[in-house]
Subunit: 339 residues, 4 copies
């Protein structure tokens, strides 16, 4: 555990905290985190140190090995909100929906209008698509951006779309309210630094085999470069298990809520790869305490140029939206706090 | 995909189905499954073959490689219910709760009374504990069974507890309404065959690195030996991810609902290993469509002899129970079917 | 790190060691391990504590979290040898070979004679086969034991074969020089305890998702029950990677050589599942420092009732044997110690 | 399996092959691969189709799902060689060695001179270091390139070093004989396309959770953009197993030798993360059939700014080099072909 002292703490404050922890039976070492003082303990967890969390000189306790002062560094219990045009992630449960890839004007407008009607607050749609094979459809690029702007004009929905390098980031920045860094680029540090120099909201997907530390340190690259508008997105991890495209790791959500102030959403579409599982997993994301979901919707899933198998129809999305609202109401009831 | 023909189908029925599938562009081969005829297709999935599922001569389509006629072999959409004393798994959402290990009379009766009051329908409690190290507490054995019987006498709750070999199975069978086969023994085939010769309900936990096929084939060992009262239990799989003890694989639930008639519950306690995540994951299990959860509850988690860190207090369980009832109501609403 | 003090050490010896470690900058705690005293350090590794390993009062340093006094408890650098009839594992590189399952007298004698001629010292052959599906061939059982005894009579090769429960263990114990506990039963603790009450050599395969700690603690169950003749067997772990049946974890060999005195062999046949990779992996096992390999050989791989795809022919085994002898000579040369 | 027909094959050649396969009992479909004709079979593997491989009209059989015509598209058994300055990878076993990161002139020249003397043919050294945390040492950048050029001037060793984006690629291309694409960037497709427009040799590391298909398709991005000088590098995959930093997947080497003509080397240093395992794993890489190893060597491992724990000293590297030469001789002997 890492104990961050409040700004302005003195070495004698650190010593006092260390003495208390020694009496609890744990060893400590004094550390420095940028301009802050801290204490590292060994073998103790959050429960062991509960008494410490009450102390005035302590800002917070971090249950992790490597320092992520910006991703973790808010007073305990505070959670950030990130604005995406007229929408806000981190204030209620946010629905993001749209096609995997932008294909045609009709396709995009049809889907945008439908998902807006069903309660989506942000429109997703891929312009540059990172594809495993060089022989697959790579996205419409700039032409897709123009269609996304038209869809925003007609529906009022802000846009999230993915950047794959500096060049596409520059183009997206001028247009989209939120720029996605995809799972394959989660440790493309030069792209993260570029995102950090932007003022756009950034949606940072978890790499398919990223640990929690690695994911938060990727976020730290963006935060440290100056951009505080970061939203995390769990999208399934690679495991031995083959019945689903990836294994959606919903257990990460309650842990993230304890150790970072950043909002976190869930992408059940890429995780499962199968339309028939998407709605069930999206409901689970709402029940587990995520701040939203991003779901692929297509007006004609069978003929999608990309990932049609995992896209909901507009009708399926409408039903999903209604059941999520009921779950939200259920877990917002005063009978139980979310964590 | 494996297409099972209805009982009584003739070779010419098989040929007709094969012709239809060939016209859809897929290859086929005729197969025999015990006393049934079938057709194996290659490259086609359930969606491709939707037309086939409507045919009168077809019983069902199975999206798996190896035959599990008993685990899969019910008419499409039918789901089994398993009786556990007065309780029924597979009819509504079932709460199973109790301590990890039975320790004392006071502990067990205190917990049993509390969880019964909060809506639990089955009492769990370990008598024989499989432990990673030979130097750890191995459970009270027969003495624990006597305490479980007393708790049942006072609360009316039926009992589920784990067998670790033939000897403990014999003892449990005389006492518990439901016998658990733990994750470590999921491929202990001699124990599975013993379970198959019992008439008790069997709770078959998924091995920590079992594929769906392996899990269902373990169930098939029990079913094939004659015991049809099998309930599956997802309890987390082993992945690289270290923020949680195991990675709870909730994506398996909608897939299981498509390919087996057996009920499936979720154990969020062993999966997360951390009390602070258990309630959130239990709510997610309800939202994703599981038939129940099994949760560890302890009256004094800090002093538990086993797995105290993951046990809820009685008060936490009461709050969890209430929020799950609200989620159940939400997803039972007519706005959306569970799958 | 765990520092085990020599038998007869006094608390003041422990204090002296702790002071030295504190001066190196690491925290310590005094611990008791059965009848031994010890010191646990935090954050230090073997290199940091090199000075300590020279001290007369220190028996050894263990780089692991949980105590396994018997699996680890030899003076540093000592490695055990396990006798299997006339063969010895842990003294040179041992070849174990034979068919996956015993099928017929001709098959078994043919293979046994051939592998003996090529340098195999132990004959393998399955009598009871744990199979994923209840509908697969489960082995000849007692009849296979009789054939194995005949093969031993004709070739002089001692026998290793797998027990799957107490009943089969009883039968094997009367016949085989070495009893295998398979990967699926690595945490079948009742079977491990039974193995511990035997005087036969035990071949303990690693579970397909067992950590090093779990594997060594499974060995500890056998050792602690009284049987010191334990040989470990790496046979591939389950990972996301699909080009091989399992991922052979050869990196475990040098680590095992540092932390346990038990010999360790490698099974490349079950790991790869593909005859065309077996010889290359067996050569790698020799080069990485394993004490032997166990290889499946069949006189007619195409028609084997079990795992024919992964079986070498007698000719392939002969070529493998010769190249392994050359590698053995290469790494035994004085230019470099094995570790 | 995918059967590629020879250039110039006619549809009637395809039909003939399909008839033969049908008679063997397998279904087929005709496919087109760029300008080539092909046949896709289902359920058959390389052994089943051995007769086919002898046919004059067949170029080769590929055991994979997605087309990688360039990575796979050489006549059967042909393997490519890649020139790196005066060195050639794919012709004998190549030793690549040097420090993780270039730190100072003395450090680099000392190591370069020592590894050259021990038989290394290529010098490695990081200029830009992708680091998990933004607060870690990120490499000397351009200054490191100048030191690498000096080391080349003094030793004659060609250089391999890592590019992390377009800007660093441009700088490296002017200087290094071989440019590394690291594991984190294996699916950074824009960087792969940049590498494909270069004439430098490219060392493509496997992503930490990349399947074989994904890795070869990443290579295909480079090949397809015009650069045929690609060398693969296995460097360990992420698994649940914690005793090693990553799990070195040596079983991938014999599979790669069957399905691609590209040379493949192994990096045991990053895989194990522990100096004490590096030499054993490097020997195993030689025995399993890799075309070389890349090993970190540091003149003062304890004080390295980066990854010192996994670096060999010059003396350890010298011993390793000698034992590898002996293993090379052993497996080159006529007793057994490498595969």
């Amino acid at each position: 555990m890492l104990i961050m002292m409040k700004a302005g703490s003195l070495p004698e404050d650190v010593d006092r905290i260390r003495r208390i922890i020694h009496e609890l039976g744990f060893d400590t070492r004094a550390v420095t985190l940028g301009d802050r003082l801290g204490v590292r303990t060994v073998g103790a967890d959050l429960d062991d140190l509960e008494a410490i969390t009450q102390r005035a000189e302590v800002e917070q306790l971090l249950p992790i090995g490597q320092p992520i002062p910006l991703a973790a560094g808010q007073p305990r219990g505070t959670r950030s909100q990130v604005r995406v045009g007229p929408a806000t992630i981190g204030d209620g449960f946010t629905l993001i929906a749209g096609p995997c890839a932008v294909e045609t004007r009709e396709q995009l407008l049809g889907v945008a209008t439908a998902v807006k009607r069903s309660g989506a607050e942000i429109l997703r749609g891929g312009a540059w698509k990172p594809r495993t094979s060089p022989y697959e459809f790579q996205g419409l690029g700039q032409a897709a951006l123009e269609l996304l702007e038209q869809a925003r004009g007609e529906t009022g929905l802000p846009i999230v779309t993915e950047a794959v390098d500096h060049a596409s980031f520059d183009q997206l920045e001028a247009c989209a309210e939120m720029v996605q860094i995809g799972a394959r680029n989660m440790q493309n540090y030069e792209l993260l630094k570029r995102a950090g120099r932007s003022s756009r909201a950034i949606l940072l997907k978890r790499g398919i085999s990223a640990t929690l530390d690695e994911w938060l340190m990727a976020a730290e690259y963006i935060l440290q470069a100056g951009n505080r508008n970061v939203v995390l997105c769990e999208r399934g991890i690679r495991t031995y298990s083959g019945h689903s495209r990836f294994t959606l790791d919903l257990s990460v959500i309650p842990v993230l809520r304890r150790i970072t102030h950043l909002p976190v959403i869930v992408d059940p579409s890429h995780a499962s790869g199968d339309r028939r599982s998407v709605a069930a997993l999206a409901r689970a994301a709402a029940a587990v305490g995520a701040d939203g979901v991003m779901v692929e919707v297509h007006d004609n899933p069978e003929n999608a140029r990309c990932d049609g198998r995992q896209s909901l129809s507009s009708e399926e999305f409408e039903r999903l939206s209604r059941s999520i609202r009921l779950i939200e109401a259920a877990i917002d009831s005063p009978t139980e706090p979310v964590l």
